[in-house]
Every structure is written in structure tokens, then in C-alpha cells.
């Protein structure tokens, strides 16, 4: 890794100020950023560690759902009694990100700000009618992810929390890359009254909603309703592990399996 300066601000204002440095980068749990730095694929001037800012941490039950601080680690979300009660599918998703050691370090804010196409959280952020709260505004979860490793965040903007809407029912299933254990395809299904949201991570350059699956489930909210519903492979990711065609197929399969985990 290249040399950098390290800071651990105690308040959001200090962090925001530090982030004004030319090539400063925020450090959440570091589970993606540090491997990237170790491979010398990035060269930040400053790393601003958000771990000492109390405002960024914790799970709060709010009207209509949950608010989770950006610096809340995956393991905390996965084990939170509140999350398990209010949106159990979200706890399930967080409790299966990466491996146990990654979950002890990785954070919600770090994951979504990085916008890795194979990350799990983006599926929940898009499916659960979220609002991403930053140090200056609120961004609808639907508008947050703009492309591969790209978000609606300004370069000096800091995610402080994500507000999740409690669904009637939700479920998440993923097909893990056997090597990296990242999601080849992850599908989050959430039902809000008559509305069904199906958010897909891993399959495309960025998380997306699968219209055909949503329509089928809105008409008939059972896994069987997805039989024969195909997802277009056009534009999906392809690599040595999975072709676009296979990924497209897996989207439907994982959606059906997510329906089997509804809570």
C-alpha cells in the first residue's frame, strides 16, 4: 500500500473538514478499501476513519421502519434484536455478508458508498424503499446507485445513516461466487401492500429492479408465479464464473428461493 495520512475524527464536522483534502478517502470497516490499497489500486492522500463518531453508529426503530447508522457493522445488524424483529430479512442479509471476520469489521455505509456490483446491501437498499441520509441531504435509495462503483454521493459527502421501510414480508437469497464468496446474483424481494419490489445485485453493473419478476409477484405473490418468467441477459455481467445468460437464469431461481425465505 502507498503511504497516506490517517485521521480519526470524533465528530461529523471534523470528518467533513478532513475530507476536503485533495485525495482523501473515508474509511469505514475497510474490508474492501484495505484490500484495494494493498493491491495498490488506489492512492489516497488521507484516510479518514469514521469509527470514532458516535452519531454514525447504531440501530434505531423509527416510525415505519428502521434507521441504521452508517458505521454500524454487518455483525451488529445481523444480530440486532430490533432488526430481527422489524425486518428479519435485512438481518439475514447482513448476517451472511462475506465471512464472519468481514462482518465484524465491515459497515453499512462503507458497503453502499463503495457500490460494489457484487455486494449484498445494495439489494436491500433498493428493495426496502430506503432513504440514504448524508451530512447534507436525503437521497432516495432508488436513486442512490448510479453505476458500477458509482453512487449519487458528492466526492466530499458522507453517508450518516440509512432509513429502511418495514415491508409486509421480505426475503433474500443469493448465489455465491464459489471462489470469492461474493454474490454472483442476490435477489431481495419485499412486499409493501400491493407493491412488490425485487432488487437484484451481482447480476448487473449495478443493483437493479427486475420488472418482470415484480409484475409476476404483484399479480400472484407465490414462488410458483415466477415459473417461466425470464430475465433478459442483455447488459448483465459476464466473467469466468458466470456468463450473462447464466446470471439471468439465476435471477429467477434466486427470486424463487428468496420467496422461500419470506418473513
Amino acid at each position: 500500500m502507498y503511504a497516506f495520512s490517517y485521521q480519526r475524527p470524533k465528530t461529523l464536522a471534523e470528518a467533513a473538514n478532513a475530507l476536503k483534502a485533495e485525495d482523501a478517502k473515508l474509511l469505514g470497516g475497510g474490508q474492501t478499501l484495505l484490500p484495494t490499497l494493498k493491491q495498490r489500486l488506489a492512492r489516497p492522500s488521507d484516510l479518514i476513519d469514521l469509527s470514532a463518531i458516535p452519531d454514525l453508529k447504531g440501530v434505531r426503530e423509527v416510525a415505519g421502519g428502521l434507521e441504521i447508522g452508517a458505521f454500524t457493522r454487518h455483525a451488529e445488524v445481523g444480530q440486532s434484536e430490533v432488526v430481527r424483529r422489524v425486518i428479519p430479512a435485512l438481518a439475514g442479509l447482513a448476517g451472511n455478508i462475506g465471512d464472519r471476520q468481514v462482518r465484524h469489521m465491515g459497515t453499512l455505509g462503507g458497503s453502499i458508498a463503495n457500490a460494489d456490483p457484487a455486494a449484498d446491501y445494495p439489494a436491500a437498499v433498493v428493495a426496502l424503499k430506503t432513504v440514504v441520509v448524508t451530512d447534507r441531504r436525503e437521497i432516495p435509495g432508488d436513486d442512490f446507485f448510479t453505476g458500477m462503483f458509482e453512487t449519487a454521493l458528492q466526492p466530499d459527502e458522507i453517508v450518516t445513516a440509512v432509513r429502511f421501510t418495514k415491508p409486509d414480508q421480505a426475503g433474500y437469497a443469493k448465489f455465491r461466487n464459489p471462489a470469492s464468496r461474493y454474490a454472483v446474483v442476490g435477489v431481495f424481494v419485499a412486499k409493501f401492500g400491493a407493491e412488490v419490489r425485487v432488487a437484484v445485485t451481482g447480476a448487473g453493473p449495478s443493483v437493479f429492479r427486475a420488472d418482470a419478476l415484480e409484475a409476476a409477484l404483484a399479480a400472484d405473490f407465490r414462488a410458483e408465479a415466477l415459473d417461466g418468467v425470464a430475465v433478459d441477459a442483455d447488459g448483465l455481467n459476464a466473467d469466468i464464473h458466470a456468463s450473462a445468460e447464466y446470471r439471468a437464469h439465476l435471477v429467477t431461481v434466486m427470486a424463487k428461493r428468496a420467496m422461500g425465505t419470506l418473513e
Binding site: M1, S5, R8, L34, P35, D49
Partner: protein, 165 residues
């Protein structure tokens, strides 16, 4: 840029000047001479470097030493009792031949201890699933899984020692 970092490692307070880019595993191995924590990959997957930070298993290759400022770190060297008596999980690995070359072993044991402390009652399948952050090339996992299950039972019988870490 050098920076002073202070933490508790295996019950002792340590303080060193390090480059800020120093990884926790480098700090432990090169600065403190605790070479039981190993580096087996550079993509945070093999788990040979697992240590406990404030009691939770973490990959020491994916944390900066400065991030751990003020924390309590336990490495494999700190697991056995002062008189050399093995921790029940270490003893179980030996009893069940859960190690061969020994390179993944420290990380595997540290992961297992953390796992069992959180979930004392585990099935074989749960153990297998929970070890997905640790790679072993020698044992085929068969005896590691047996060892973790046996170690879990032994840890139940010795709760006071476990809490002391």
C-alpha cells in the same frame, strides 16, 4: 508518516511508532515479534491472520494498526494459559488432529474460539458454514470440524477460563 499506536496485546499494553499504512498483522509480526499470526493471502480470504479485537475475530491483514488504537487484541500466543496449558479449543485441535502443517492453524483456532463463544451449540453443518473465512489446504477440514465441535463441548465445561480472555 509515523504515528504512535498503543493497544493491549495478550493482556500487555504495547506502544510503538509505526508508519500509518502498517497493517495490524505487520504490527504484530514485525514490530512485536508475534509471528504466530500468519499471512496466507492478500485478498482477505484465507483467514491465517485471524486475531481477536475486543473479543471478536477479525482478519489482521485487513485492519490498520492505527485503527486498533486503544483496543484489546488477542493473538494465538495469548490463548493458552500462562503455564502453557492449552485452551480447550487448542487441545481439541491436537486431540482430533485438526492441523497438519500448522500454517492456517492459528487463524482457524482463533475463528473457532470466537464462533463457539457466540454460539456454544453448533451442528456440524453450522461449523462448516461458519468457517468460510478460513482456508486449510492440508486437513480437508474433516478433523478441523471434529475439533471445533469437541472444543465447543470442552469450552462449556470451562466457562470461567474462557471469559477471562
Amino acid at each position: 508518516m509515523p504515528s504512535r499506536v498503543t493497544m493491549t496485546v495478550n493482556g500487555k499494553t504495547v506502544s510503538r511508532e509505526v508508519e500509518e499504512r502498517t497493517l495490524l498483522v505487520t504490527f504484530l509480526r514485525d514490530h512485536l515479534g508475534l509471528t504466530g499470526t500468519h499471512v496466507g493471502c492478500d485478498t482477505s480470504q484465507c483467514g491465517a491472520c485471524v486475531v481477536h479485537i475486543d473479543g471478536r475475530s477479525v482478519k489482521a491483514c485487513t485492519a490498520l494498526a492505527v485503527q486498533v488504537e486503544g483496543c484489546s487484541v488477542t493473538t494465538i500466543e495469548g490463548l493458552a494459559a500462562a503455564d502453557g496449558t492449552l485452551h480447550p479449543m487448542q487441545a481439541a485441535f491436537r486431540e482430533h488432529h485438526g492441523l497438519q502443517c500448522g500454517f492456517c492453524t492459528p487463524g482457524m483456532v482463533m475463528s473457532a474460539v470466537d464462533l463457539v463463544r457466540e454460539t456454544p451449540d453448533l451442528t456440524e453443518q453450522e461449523v462448516r458454514n461458519a468457517l468460510d473465512g478460513n482456508i486449510c489446504r492440508c486437513t480437508g477440514y474433516h478433523n478441523i470440524v471434529k475439533a471445533v465441535l469437541a472444543g465447543a463441548e470442552a469450552m462449556k465445561a470451562e466457562p470461567s477460563r474462557i471469559a477471562a480472555e
